[in-house]
């Protein structure tokens, strides 16, 4: 099976020294891939590079067997990639319904109602909040709005940057369940996570990013079981 997203030798940054250096990474269709690593390792930069928000110095990014390295952000949504940034990921003064609606503008779905219905089935909590400004919601609900907005463009690939940052443990479980639910409807997910242990548990594949380089890859379970990874990145203890 060929990869949906394939990154080869990617070196990118923000104009100064490159932040990520020679990354190789494949994401198979209908899987959840998790990137973990210490703060400042370049995890967000990697996601942003896929989304054309950094300066790419070298390497290639292919999506669906098509080279997307030079494409602009606005061109990526229509071909089936959507992203949720790490922070400021909802339009706070727009209502929840409007947030979802904005998600359809770049890639108008054939049946807007049906897509919205599917998103609301995934995130039933939002149904009662549709008329409320997104800025008035709790952190977990905002994360749902943000993911919902991204899903409204019916992406094949969803990029999530730390979807559980700052959430309570209870909400954390819910978000991970939702991510599995999103995978179940056929969307491929590449996400960055700080809650590495829980994330790897649901991941089909994990990547450890250190200092801008891909330190180690494997299935979620392999990484959880790896002594080295456990000691350095999962805070010791057993899985």
């Amino acid at each position: 099976m060929s990869a949906l997203l394939s990154i080869r030798g990617l070196t990118a940054g923000y104009g100064g020294l490159p932040v990520i250096d020679g990354i190789d990474l494949d994401v198979a269709p209908r899987t959840v891939s998790v990137i973990i690593g210490p703060n400042g390792a370049g995890k967000s930069t990697l996601l942003k590079s896929v989304f054309a928000l950094t300066r790419i110095e070298a390497g290639k990014i292919a999506f669906d067997d098509r080279d997307i390295t030079g494409l602009a952000t606005a061109e990526l949504v229509p071909i089936g990639i959507a992203a949720v940034p790490q922070s400021r990921n909802v339009f706070t003064t727009l209502t929840v319904a409007e947030n979802l609606d904005v998600g359809t503008y770049a890639a108008p779905p054939r049946d807007r109602r049906a897509v919205e219905e599917r998103v609301l089935t995934l995130f039933p909590d939002l149904r009662a909040k549709l008329g409320q400004p997104a800025g008035t919601l709790s952190g977990g609900q905002r994360q749902m709005v943000a993911m919902g907005r991204a899903l409204m463009s019916e992406p094949k690939l969803l990029l999530l940057d730390e979807p559980t940052a700052g959430l309570s443990p209870a909400y954390l479980e819910r978000i991970f369940d939702l991510i599995l639910g999103i995978r179940a409807v056929g969307v491929t997910i590449l996400m960055v996570e700080q809650n590495a242990r829980q994330a790897l548990r649901i991941a089909d594949r994990g990547h450890v990013l250190v200092n801008g380089r891909n330190f180690q890859s494997g299935t979620g379970m392999e990484l959880l079981g790896d002594e080295n990874v456990r000691r350095s990145f999962l805070g010791g203890g057993t899985a």
């Binding site: 928000l53 606005a74 400021r88 990921n89 339009f91 727009l94 503008y105 770049a106 463009s153």
Partner: protein
């Protein structure tokens, strides 16, 4: 009492409508391009002259010839955005502020060059006011101004909340990076911001010209109260700016009413000062304005 209505309240609504129409554009530009557009008053001036030129050529009432003023204002703003503002977008926005400051001068000198420095009127002679209930005397212009502002307020509200473009504009104003990540066409949003802002400015300029007369400093003289109105309404909140414009207009006109004693409360020559002091008070106590806009 009736004197208050005739000579203070109704003119105050007209002035408020002029400020409101200008302030909407300033507030939208604030929200989406994130800078204080110092040339906005002079966009109004160009709009007023555009309408004036049409009045010279076509025998129709000025308000029906507004499309000419609007067209001139749109062309002018899109041109300066393209030539002068866009190349500076990567830099700190203060450079764009400085640039717009220079554009104000460019627009004004162009107006003087093409139309001269003298005062012009749209329709010569004194317009007879309409009389209602034998007591309320209103000039047709004041009624028209109030109708225009009501229609525009409703249209704008529907546009911003219901249309795709309106929602995109609010989204870009709210979180520009997220809007880009969502795949919104930011350039298109910016273009429409200028088109709408310029159109409303041209209407405001023409109303101001009808209210008094048209001259090259017409818009520049209104800039300060319009800034005050957009801060009052909360930056990036066009509907707030509309309300803010009405409030500033009312405050300025009504400050000249003899509330205490016989003389005007504040001498009419200091009318503009009222707007300034409202602005200063806002900056000290409530810089996000009355409707919880954001800070630049």
């Amino acid at each position: 009492m009736i004197e208050f209505v005739n000579f203070y309240l109704i003119p105050a609504f007209t002035l408020g409508a002029i400020y409101a129409l200008g302030a909407v554009g300033i507030s939208m530009i604030f929200g989406i391009l994130r800078f204080a557009h110092f040339a906005h008053g002079d966009v109004m001036t160009l709009g007023a002259y555009g309408t004036l030129t049409a009045v010279w050529l076509i025998p129709l009432p000025p308000l029906l010839l507004l499309p000419f003023g609007i067209a001139l204002a749109i062309v002018a703003t899109l041109a300066v955005d393209r030539m002068f503002y866009r190349p500076l977008r990567k830099l700190a926005t203060i450079y764009t502020v400085i640039s717009s400051f220079g554009v104000a001068l460019i627009f004004r000198s162009l107006a003087q060059l093409f139309w001269g420095a003298q005062n012009e009127v749209y329709v010569p002679g004194v317009q007879r006011p309409l009389v209602f209930f034998d007591t309320i005397r209103v000039s047709a212009l004041h009624i028209e101004a109030i109708l225009i502002i009501i229609v525009i307020a409703l249209t704008l509200h529907v546009f911003l909340t219901r249309s795709r473009l309106g929602r995109s504009m609010r989204a870009v104003s709210d979180e520009p990076e997220l809007a880009a990540v969502s795949g919104l066409d930011t350039d298109r949003v910016i273009r429409w911001t200028w088109i709408i802002g310029a159109s409303l400015a041209a209407i405001a300029g023409t109303l101001a010209g009808l209210d008094t007369d048209v001259h090259p400093n017409l818009g520049w003289n209104l800039l300060l109260p319009m800034f005050a109105a957009s801060i009052l309404g909360g930056i990036g909140k066009p509907m707030g700016a509309l309300a803010g414009g009405m409030v500033i207009g009312l405050a300025e006109e009504l400050s000249a009413y003899p509330w205490l004693g016989d003389g005007p409360l504040i001498s009419p020559s200091y009318k503009t000062a009222v707007a300034f002091f409202i602005m200063v008070a806002l900056l000290i106590f409530k810089p996000q304005g009355l409707f919880k806009g954001r800070l630049l």
